[in-house]
Symmetry: C3
Subunit: 270 residues, 3 copies
């Protein structure tokens, strides 16, 4: 199979919630056009119109889907306006997303092999509403891509596109010499369902974490597992996406340490 | 394929929520009887036993599924009592639903091509409980319909059935003559996940919306998109189901205008 | 087909919620390894790390899935520690679960036909994280079992395992003789989405319920259906899992009677 050849799998990431039929409707449209396509929900509980939150959830999911998956993200405050919808090929898969920066969380600049504007109305559901492009554009286009339509058929090439990215962690040496300690500054980028506070700080190769500080709390060293700390005790651990998280064994670090997205975090490395 | 011939697709709409296994159990029963059937969730977050809320969500979803879909709705305060369960053919699809009025939101009176009482116990799961007909009747019957069982085999014809419908919008002329303004009176029928307040007011052909009033707020004219209003500003827009909605660009109209289901809305048309 | 031969169906029960991508990621891993496997969600809304709540939901679901289903439960406070992961064969199906007692809710001691430690790393996703074995171990192992890998290939036999079980109901005779009344003492084990308070009290064969008492309320006799009581009135009913529940017709018994998990319940039988 060629790079980006569809495998019949479509994923959905939206802020549509579970109460309305919006996500189900997208699946109905897909089932009508591509009955053999399979659809997997990444999440429909992105906070409304929160592109960064969507990007962080999306970036945790994408690497674990097979090549040729069509990844659809509809977190789209600009729906119905002149904002563009783009299709990307990269990392062996296809991405369908509003041009609002979200793609930056999952496809590095150089990983974009092709970018196309989704403009050809013969692939849409008509009449196209002003408020639900998930149903009228994203779902039918995703179905057609899953059936084999090359993304070039969707419209003209996109010469540029908007990109958001995670805030970078900033690292500085605290003294001269190879043995100098490093201080890394970052922030809480996500609170997960367990109350784990995911940061943008990654482990530093060849270094050992001395102390992690956030919201007035200080944690010594990295824990090999949640259970290595006593029940209710805060700990730092390398989470499943490779970032350092503040956690509480069998508790919620967000609640118990008072942590929220955007809080500053600093790490001292030896 | 004949009218209403099953396509192997089943949709579920319930008030079962996500915490219990109830929806999953229905899928288990279906998978055991009809392994090749595919199941799509319309929603399981209908407010408990709220038939109108269920009807509005259902009516937004049904038109987007392929013909031959078996649509199952279990919002069923009368479970275990003598209320009937009915199967309908209409609009090219099959509907399985308690006889509590819900069908009225998705099948107009003349669109009902056949209505049958679901009474033949050989199609049920036994013993039939008094509290979970979703598992014991709806799921196995839906599976058998998806496999090709004609609905006539489910029991005797239903000569009548209960129907709820959306409240109608009431339109009156404000003066004589072709150029007379029209005033339409309606209500908020649904608050969606974004806080959009969906009304029962539809656009009037050949007319232009002058003003929309609700909960003390007045909005001038229809917006072509959410983003055509300034961030945080209220607007009126034709929503994806064809009804006029009160929205706030990147905000919640329900919260910011204090709107709730049942609130009166009036529209002035020129 | 032999006992426990996989039917291509995998169920998931977790405390991962819907906001994060965790459940979707497990499905992505499964789709990559076993594209023909079908996945059904039992629930992802188990309260974090609550093994009993998970067990009760699991026990309600398992009997309704076809033989050969691979049932995966990831409610796993010990993730990353030395707690074991076990695979069981029993009741014609396969169970994949941390060794934290959860299996006891769905497989009686004698129903366990085979128990194996999941240790062979060639079946895992690498690198194995310390925090997300759902992705790195449970999902790929479930996919391989669904494809036909015998559980013996996963690691050495497990000679013992932890088991939790529902608290037993305690029954005593109130006097001598065949006509003696019985008093059964139990507790509320689950509050469902409707506010029904499920107890661990089962009906007693040949006996009639005289009175059910909990939280200061007393209910006379069993109701044949919710609707047999007046709207808003408390009732006792045999629920869909065979246990007696306290309910309120078209209301929430939990809210209206002030009931919570763990509350004592007594039943008088004649």
């Amino acid at each position: 199979m060629g790079e980006g050849r569809p495998c019949g799998l479509i994923t959905l990431l939206t802020d549509f919630g579970a109460r309305d039929a919006y996500a189900g409707v997208m699946k109905g449209v897909i089932a009508g056009l591509a009955p053999s396509a399979r659809v997997i929900d990444v999440s429909h509980e992105v906070p409304p119109q929160d592109i960064r939150a969507a990007g962080i959830v999306w970036s945790q999911a994408i690497p674990y889907f097979p090549p040729g998956t069509v990844h659809v993200a509809v977190v789209d405050p600009g729906v119905g306006s002149r904002r563009r919808i783009l299709a990307f090929e990269g990392q062996g898969s296809i991405f369908l997303v509003p041009d609002n920066g979200l793609i930056g969380y999952v496809l590095g600049k150089r990983a974009v092999r092709r970018a196309v504007q989704v403009t050809r109305p013969e692939h849409f559901l008509h009449p196209v509403s002003a408020t639900f492009h998930g149903r009228d554009i994203f779902a039918p286009v995703a179905a057609r891509i899953a059936l084999g339509l090359p993304i070039d058929a969707l419209g003209p090439a996109a010469r540029s596109h908007r990109r958001e990215e995670l805030p970078p962690m900033r690292v500085r040496r605290l003294s001269r010499g190879a043995a100098a300690r490093l201080r890394a500054a970052g922030e809480v980028i996500h609170i997960d369902v367990f109350g784990n506070a995911v940061t943008n700080l990654a482990p530093i190769k060849g270094r050992r974490l001395v102390r992690l500080e956030a919201a007035g709390a200080a944690i010594e060293g990295l824990s090999p597992s949640y259970a290595a700390a006593r029940k209710g005790e805060p700990l730092a651990i390398v989470g499943s996406a490779g970032f350092i998280e503040l956690s509480v064994n069998q508790g919620s670090a967000a609640r118990e340490l008072g942590l929220a997205v955007g809080d500053r975090v600093t790490a001292l490395w030896k």
